[in-house]
Symmetry: C2
Subunit: 451 residues, 2 copies
């Protein structure tokens, strides 16, 4: 057997980190359900032809999947692992349109796979948590306001730094570029999308390069001016108008983004920032697009993104327009862990270890454990009878807060429970003793708050 | 774009079925945590060489995974999707042995992939829920008694038919076969494992076939006699002894299985059945093996299986013996759904739909929704202002039990809430109204109980 080595881009958590991840996933799920989103999961694979041509360099990043025992002709179309949850969801909607009620609100928390070059916060296997609303034929505009509010509600329940949701409407750069006479809008969009990463000088170089869009220096300057506009209200409209570019698609985009900013400010002033450089790499977005930065971690990039897609799901007769946002759960956690911003109070759910005097008492110890579990307390029995010091060390190493000691088997009662943190040991009855509520489950600690 | 069609073996649930699946997964997780098992998840892929040679015909069922953009030489060892959670767990233990505390109790609920021929209850992508305990160097025997008790605790909390956990020790058939002079023990085990499926006559044919193990008719008869022994206590030992076969491995197996039966009967009489035909197809099991039948659904086969493995995880210096059981969650649900034994009371988490008089009132309706969510009530606002009949129909189609009607915007209070089942409509205040506890979340219904 080969050596055991990690596979780059396929991270795994230790049990204590997994407890933090579970806390995040539980909180996100709880929030999504409070907002009336129904859960679905889709299969991990899609026909490759459905996954391809969705933008950027995603095609070569697709993981193809094939049975080792398959002969060349007994498999159907080639299958690949999904690289996001939006493309599979659009397919699911088409496949089940007759059995779903529209507008359909769904959330989906699953792993996805992208064969990108692994780097900080970029993995080849990672978990996303998506909400989408899809309509049949039409989808009211107000969902574009509602979705970032749901995300903000989820984030407000999580122990994370303050955040900022940036929003744009793709029609604004598209209309603006067309108004400037630019034909290859997609190429320019993809270059501008890198502004935060590579800076304005490099962007100008790329925009004016002869083997690129080959814009004139003045046109490139206008493109950059648009990208640099941002505002926490509808005032961005005037800033765009001041650039003097005219196009009807631009007008439509400005009107829509202004409406989002106005409506969002009614519910959560300052939460959304209109930021006209936001574009998103995936080609299926047609209008509003979202990104999210952690304040103080801007260079890390977006940890939650999405947008409106009007034509991703279409069966030829009906089109199902949608809007969705995806939390990059793995990406978010990777940042918080690497910065030492989060940890779990213990590495196991166990709140109480029942110690053993000798192996003959295991059956009795198991009954004590069962009595405690009846009241929702996670318990395990010691792996072996040993000196109590050794059993206490076993619990302490895992962060288990309480050790239960059985009284003499021939007398009534006599059990005691020891709090390993205070050292206090008190009489206790398995039929009624309960730990403090905050000790029943592992706690999530944010170390910087304790320092 | 190609037609949208299901992929055989890759089932997906509708939202109402997914609610049932979530209820099962939540209950299983809750039980595992009450018993002190820590959650981990492993990456979906392993080096193919680690997945292969684990028994049966699993090799050709492995799904190989490869980046579309990979050149022949820039990928490391070939990767495949895991076909169970035990092999990845063993690798995880080796990789993290310095950071884990032993004995290590972990649970793992994830999807796995097997390229089997799809049939009822056999999928190519499915969800398993595993518990395992792994020791460093040694693993006390008592875990082989504890694990089926944990499973029984989980099952007792689920709305499923009564069940029976069958247990055997592989040393019993192995020692017995060796005592009979059989050399190719593995081949005979694999044939006997099919007894329930194909019956004793066909088994005899396979055992005596010249191109098979080529047993004599008398030897084949002895093999079948052993396989037909079962008991709910340690009395199976005498039945085996009566067959007159002697071997030291047999003695060891009988002693161990008798100890499990005796200890298990102390905690849950009748729960375990010693059943000497149980073998399990995977080669890594070395001692105790488990299967689980739903009573009245025996022909469906096992829905929860596992066993002890003494040498799956070894780095050459240390061996980490383990014992584990895996609930076939997808397999279990497929049976219950196909037999009409389970359904959800609604297709969405939403308990209350806030109706809209006109679109101008959306902001106010969203505030009402937020007030209800504050108390943990899942709420959504109607997708559009429409006649109340239409909005009630929208809620009714999804099984949403309550519709909230806003009072006049210019007066104080005046809101009412309507229970769509009783038709009762009563005054309500968003700051204090709460639905009955059983209506806050979707209920899981077992239709046969209501008929």
């Amino acid at each position: 057997m080969s050596r055991v080595t990690p596979i780059s881009g396929f991270p795994e958590f230790l049990p204590s980190e997994r407890i933090v991840e579970q806390y995040f996933l539980d909180t996100i799920r709880e929030t999504f359900e409070l907002h009336g989103f129904a859960s679905i999961e889709t299969r991990a694979v899609e026909p490759i032809e459905r996954l391809s041509n969705q933008g950027e360099d995603t095609d070569k990043e697709i993981y193809a999947v094939r049975r080792l025992g398959a002969s060349a002709d007994d498999e159907g179309p080639g299958l690949g692992l999904h690289f996001d949850l939006t493309v599979p969801f659009a397919r699911y909607v088409l496949e089940n349109s007759g059995k779903l009620s529209f507008p359909f609100r769904r959330y989906q928390i699953q792993r996805v796979w992208r064969g990108e070059r692994p780097q900080e916060g970029r993995f080849r296997e990672f978990t996303q948590a998506d909400i989408d609303v899809v309509g049949d034929g039409t989808l009211p505009f107000h969902y574009e306001v509602e979705l970032p509010l749901v995300i903000a509600d989820a984030f407000s329940r999580l122990p994370i730094p303050p955040f900022r949701i940036q929003v744009n409407n793709r029609q604004i750069p598209e209309g603006f570029y067309r108004g400037l006479g630019i034909e290859d809008v997609t190429s320019v969009l993809r270059i501008v999308d890198k502004l935060d990463k590579i800076g304005p000088d490099k962007i100008t170089q790329l925009l004016t390069a002869a083997d690129g869009p080959a814009l004139t220096p003045e046109t490139a300057k206008q493109v950059l001016r648009l990208a640099e506009i941002s505002a926490t209200d509808a005032s961005f409209v005037e800033q765009v108008r001041a650039l003097g570019v005219q196009h009807e698609i631009l007008d439509e985009g400005l009107e829509r983004l202004a409406a989002i900013m106005t409506a969002a400010n009614e519910h959560a002033p300052g939460l959304l920032v209109a930021d006209l450089k936001i574009a998103r790499g995936l080609d299926y977005y047609t209008g509003t697009v979202y990104e999210t930065q952690l304040i103080g971690h801007e260079s890390y990039g977006s940890i939650c993104s999405g947008g409106r897609y009007d034509s991703l799901a279409s069966d030829g007769k009906t089109t199902y327009p949608g809007v969705g946002i995806s939390i990059g759960v793995s990406r978010l956690l990777a940042r918080l862990f690497s910065q030492g911003l989060l940890k779990s109070s213990r590495s196991t759910p166990t709140a109480v270890l029942v110690a053993l005097n000798n192996e003959d008492e295991r059956a009795d110890a198991m009954r004590t454990a069962a009595a405690l579990r009846q009241r929702g307390i996670p318990v395990e029995v010691a792996p072996a009878a040993a000196k109590f010091g050794k059993q206490i060390k076993f619990a302490d190493r895992r962060g288990i807060p309480f050790v239960w000691f059985k009284g003499p088997a021939d007398g009534p009662g006599g059990d005691t429970v020891k709090d390993l943190r205070s050292g206090d040991q008190v009489p206790a009855d398995a039929a009624s003793w309960t730990p403090p509520t905050e000790d029943v489950r592992p706690g999530i600690e944010t170390p910087q708050e304790n320092s």
